[in-house]
């Protein structure tokens, strides 16, 4: 077990050949449990803690590769520094929306009215996909780009536009049918 990590303090000297430290981490700054370097970082609880710290914004990013892992320190650690751990580690994926994005919130949810519009006006067999697509766009694009409030407005607008699209498709089919039948079947 790495003594530097166990003591909660890493320096270039204590990390030795196992790691290169870009910034000193003081005790209590990081809540990562100890990790056995010799296992190649397969400790699941340690990786879960890294991912949780990334999610909470304690760490801005954790990028892993075949040669090691770079953990960039977030605002809680003062930012700007990084820890580079040399050695094979499992992949860490940062799925968290970037910090500093306007209106980012763990609890942001699509507006009720948008969901209701879909429930009321979209054909039953298409509701599932539309709910899913709107939710994916909401969480992945609109909230990180515009913030929660604007994203909610966009959600409602897109829900409305989508029901118009579904209705127009049905209306166009009806017009097409009428034109062909009313013009003596020549259309």
């Amino acid at each position: 077990m790495n003594p530097g990590v166990r003591r909660g303090r890493l320096t270039a000297a204590t990390a030795g050949s196992n790691g290169d430290v870009g910034r000193t981490v003081n005790p209590g700054e990081m809540s990562l449990p100890p990790m056995d370097w010799n296992t190649g970082g397969t400790d699941a609880s340690w990786m879960a803690a890294v991912q949780e710290s990334v999610r909470r914004g304690s760490l801005t990013a954790a990028m892993a590769g075949s040669n090691g892992i770079n953990i960039f320190l977030g605002p809680e650690q003062g930012g700007g520094g990084f820890i580079s751990i040399v050695g094979a580690v499992p992949t860490v994926t940062n799925n968290a929306p970037s910090q500093g994005s306007p209106g980012y919130s763990d609890t942001s949810a699509p507006p009720f009215i948008g969901e209701l519009i879909v429930d009321l006006f979209v054909p039953l067999n298409r509701q599932d996909e539309l709910h899913g697509d709107l939710l994916e766009m909401f969480n992945r694009r609109w909230v990180p780009t515009y913030g929660v409030r604007v994203a909610q407005l966009i959600h409602v607008a897109q829900a409305l536009q989508s029901i118009v699209a579904f209705r127009i498709t049905a209306l166009l089919a009806l017009i097409d049918w009428l034109m062909r039948h009313c013009s003596g079947g020549t259309g």
Binding site: L130, H131, G132, D133, E136, F166
Partner: protein, 114 residues
């Protein structure tokens, strides 16, 4: 018979062509959000979900694409994706449209335009 007559009212508009190509590029993994992403990546244009739904429905009615529902996924709140796949008829329509365009952009005309 000319290509225009062959295509008839089953021809492709510009946006229909973009959507059809975006579906074709993703090999059976295309769904509404990924179609939007693909079009944005290749053209820089942002399109709405509604526009994509209306277009793929139209393409499906023409027999150019088929669709099937995927499995529910947690990141989409347990909702399913509808995956679209380009059909042989759609591929034919694309190549015929391209040929038609090339005929319209024949060297003599292009030379006069540029």
């Amino acid at each position: 018979m000319t290509l225009g007559v062959v295509l008839g009212r089953h021809g492709l508009g510009e946006f229909e062509r973009h959507v059809l190509l975006a579906i074709g590029h993703q090999g059976g993994q295309a769904y509404a959000v990924s179609i939007i992403d693909e079009i944005h990546r290749r053209t820089g244009k942002r399109v709405s979900l509604g526009a994509v739904y209306a277009t793929v429905d139209r393409l499906a009615k023409k027999g150019f694409v088929s669709s099937e529902l995927g499995e529910p996924t947690p990141e989409r709140g347990g909702k399913r994706k509808r995956f679209y796949r380009i059909e042989a008829r759609g591929e034919r329509a694309l190549s015929q449209t391209r040929e038609l365009d090339q005929q319209m952009w024949a060297p003599a005309i292009v030379g006069a335009l540029i």
